[in-house]
Symmetry: C2
Subunit: 300 residues, 2 copies
């Protein structure tokens, strides 16, 4: 049941609050990830390399009624083989072919959207890859969407009984349960399992997490608090999982397993991911959209 939009001043205030949060979260995550880079012991694999640092690249969106832009923040380091943490705030008009599929866009194609998106591909095959994204979108309606999901790359760790899996699910459950009125954990967990699934291979992308979209319950404050909770939960759990695993040595077989598993990630992103496909079709920032692609991949 869609809620009516608030008055323009309130909506503007919410946009500003959401955007500020996403950018604050980006800064906090960047700092936390750089700290993980710093903390890799010299005795760990790749510990002799220099710690990585994020490089930020602003970009601007242009063309007709479209505007806004964002900042790509990319890092290649000794823990992160490739990680991107991007914020963007854009506005424009949906092309006719998309209007039907987007809530509130059929009567008026104008939209505004702000969000953070993150994909990390670690060097160490014992450290799982991860994805996190949250966003606030307005058309003639307004909603939050997002989620976070974990992709262990070693087959023996891609199980629901793995300690990392259990810890990640627990973190996401806690974020939902603290805002249970707007964030039903079981629903968001099942949505994640359904969304991050490679139909052509009949296999899940990772071990799951949460996924939600069109979150529009009438209680914006609670939805915003939940969105912040997802970000904070991610900010706490993922560096923990990295530190737990980042000193574990790996062998060539494990590296090969990682590179092949990354191929599934590519397949998912280009065949199914709505954000990727939508972004590429609508003239989004190609560098930013495809910055999620793994650094090295094998299809043997």
């Amino acid at each position: 049941m869609p809620s009516p939009l608030p008055d323009p001043a309130t909506l503007d205030k919410r946009k500003t609050q959401a955007r500020s949060w996403f950018e604050k979260l980006r800064d906090d995550i960047s700092a936390a990830f750089e700290a993980v880079e710093d903390d890799l012991p010299a005795t760990a694999p790749l510990g002799g390399r220099a710690p990585g640092r994020f490089v930020r690249t602003p970009w601007t969106r242009v063309g007709g009624p479209d505007g806004g832009g964002g900042v790509m923040a990319m890092m290649t380091g000794r823990v992160f083989e490739k990680v991107g943490v991007h914020c963007s705030t854009v506005h424009g008009e949906f092309a006719p072919e998309f209007r039907k599929d987007i809530p509130g866009a059929e009567s008026d194609p104008r939209f505004w959207a702000s969000g953070i998106s993150l994909i990390a591909h670690p060097q160490n095959p014992h450290v799982p890859a991860v994805h996190m994204n949250t966003r606030f979108v307005t058309t003639t309606r307004a909603w939050f969407g997002g989620g976070a999901d974990l992709t262990p790359v070693l087959n023996r760790r891609r199980t629901q009984s793995d300690p990392d899996t259990i810890a990640f699910h627990a973190a996401m459950k806690a974020a939902c349960d603290a805002h249970a009125k707007v964030a039903p954990y079981d629903k968001f967990k099942a949505w994640c399992d359904e969304y991050f699934f490679l139909k052509h291979r009949n296999e899940p992308r990772g071990i799951g997490g949460i996924f939600y979209d069109y979150l529009d319950t009438g209680d914006w404050e609670a939805e915003f608090a939940f969105t912040q909770a997802v970000g904070r939960a991610f900010l706490k759990i993922y560096p923990e999982l990295m530190r737990k695993n980042f000193t574990t040595p790996w062998n060539d077989t494990e590296r090969e397993e990682q590179l092949v598993r990354r191929g599934r990630y590519v397949e998912f992103n280009l065949l199914y991911d709505r954000g990727t496909i939508f972004g590429l079709r609508t003239g989004g920032n190609v560098e930013s959209i495809l910055s999620s692609m793994p650094p090295v991949v094998k299809w043997p």
Copy 2:
């Protein structure tokens, strides 16, 4: 203007002739490629390795009214980092969502299709990657489709003035010109440029070649002769281009350029290639369809 199908006995004879040709061509190409592996001088890069040999894996298509199958032939060697030459002959019914888009399938969803498809990813960045595919399809209509296109992986050789580009285009033009009544070269060349184009990057996949589909002029014998000419032209020109380049040493920068360029190949196949997307959506043989993916790829 669609031609009427011939009588069933004639159609059956044509199916058998087409299938036999594709399988004969596969055998000839396999032998030619193994000879290229054998002929790499010991002093060339990777010349100390053992020559590769094709491994054939038959597969069967099952499910409801669907049947048939094929043989995957894959080789990893010292000239070819990964090459697949596949034949398949399948029949079945198109799912309702595809019937509208396929000539002759709206009134009767049954189809039969036989073809050969080939993608080669060479070790040496100086040797261009290549794709070739020809097929004969019947619904309530019948047609040939296919083509061949070349993808040099070094930027400085991705030009229309490169000797390899000129030689490849000349080979395809000769195949068309010998059957000009059914194979207008300019049209098929332009179709190739249009099809193998990465819209999101506004760049061509390679340097082109020819592409054709729904070839149904009323002169089946000429169309079949042209299809054979495309296969023979490929069989002659590509081993020539390999031999011309396969002793050229390469450096790390060139290898990196190759691996990044292969990323564009992956993007094309998963975002745009009709055969790949159609195959994956219709429950085709995943291993066979995705065997076209490059062995190692980088998105830096």
